[in-house]
Symmetry: none
Subunit: 206 residues, 2 copies
DNA sequence: TAAATTACCACTCATGCGTGTGGATGTCAA
DNA sequence: TTGACATCCACACGCATGAGTGGTAATTTA
């Protein structure tokens, strides 16, 4: 994206320009589709597309929107992404709105979705990984793969039962290590296979 | 939006259809503008717009996208279909593919994403909630609200610092209770305010 | 006061773009 | 083997749409 909103001096908008910007903003928020020039005209009762273009030109010049030539609906707002959550590093008292300086990044849930098409969720049973913050009934997102590296959290098949464990190596031997002193590490034998690697843990309340 | 974590079975997509859906998805994510039929054709090297229409028709029939007639770029993703993973209750040996019988439901991330626009993620600092499975550097999704119920996991502001704690009531008094014996419960005083409720914990690896 | 900006209008043009028709080939379940 | 899909093609129609030209009038700015 082009702009730091922070360093850019804010150019004042007229009331009418603000109205147009607000309309575009709302259209993107609600229908997720920017309006065409004629749709803007219809909304404000303009009988000429030229009128809209004048307003858009002003919004572009003042740095509020970006427009790609010869593409329909190609009005882009200069603002943060729609489908992600701002990650707040610090939260200040009062906290009226999400001040830009506080945002340290964005949580992208959707990059998980298409990471690849062999991903599934597994509901965790038992407390064997409790010290790794993986609680009973948590959902772990698992990328299906037969190999894993030591230190990674994996899903292994032990007697037709799927379990989440850490993969460790000790004295040239591989172990499935629980994160709970109550349980013992399980040596990797022929009957045990790794079916995937845990890429995310998701817990939801209610 | 749905709200159920557990939903009905989805209709399977072919590899090609998945590719097309993925492209549409990525275009919306990156350029914030759904592609036109011809843009899709160009991306896949199709020389006919009819080919794209066939794929889109399949995606519509299978409930993955919604299309508005006679409007440019009017391809809408049906989020429930997108942001979900099958939840496997049992994993069988051999595990060739995701057999339907094994799937106990779907993990629905969409209700998080589209829940409302007053939700943010907060990176957890410290180990005060470690026994609740909330580890340092985890991301908690927070719905901004000033009230909470006892027993809920909340984000509170203590001296301009955001902390995640359990809200408890003991002897008619409210406490912010850590999930770690190393730390003491903090009595709710005037200087402390609740800014939100934790609705989800997300941890990602690598 | 002159020049620029704002806020509209009418009209035209070329291309963007969704849609329709018709056809080809192959796969797979009934 | 018939029919439903899936996956491509060519070609054409017609409205959608962005952009251009050339105005008028009020307001603001230099």
């Amino acid at each position: 994206m082009s702009g730091n909103l922070i360093s850019m001096e804010k150019v004042k908008l007229t009331t009418k320009q603000k109205d147009v910007l607000k309309f575009i903003y709302q259209r993107i928020r609600t229908s997720k589709l920017p309006p065409t020039i004629r749709e803007i005209a219809a909304n404000f009762g303009f009988s000429s597309t030229g009128t809209v273009r004048d307003h858009l030109k002003a919004l572009v010049n003042k740095g509020y929107v970006k427009i790609t030539s010869n593409k329909s609906r190609a009005i882009e707002l200069i603002s943060e992404a729609l489908f992600s959550f701002p990650i707040l590093g610090r939260v200040q008292a009062g906290l009226p709105s999400l001040a830009v300086e506080e945002i340290e990044g964005y949580l992208d849930l959707d990059s998980l979705v298409f990471s690849d098409n062999d991903t599934f969720a597994l509901r965790v049973k038992g407390d064997s990984m409790i010290n790794a913050g993986i609680m009973p009934d948590d959902l772990v997102l698992v990328r299906r793969q037969a190999m894993a590296q030591t230190g990674e959290t994996v899903v292994a098949l032990i007697e037709d039962e799927a379990t989440v464990k850490h993969l460790r190596k000790r004295n040239q031997k591989y172990f499935l290590e629980p994160a709970n002193p109550k349980y013992e590490p399980i040596p990797m034998t022929d009957g045990i296979s790794i079916i995937g690697k845990v890429i995310s843990v998701v817990r939801r309340f209610q």
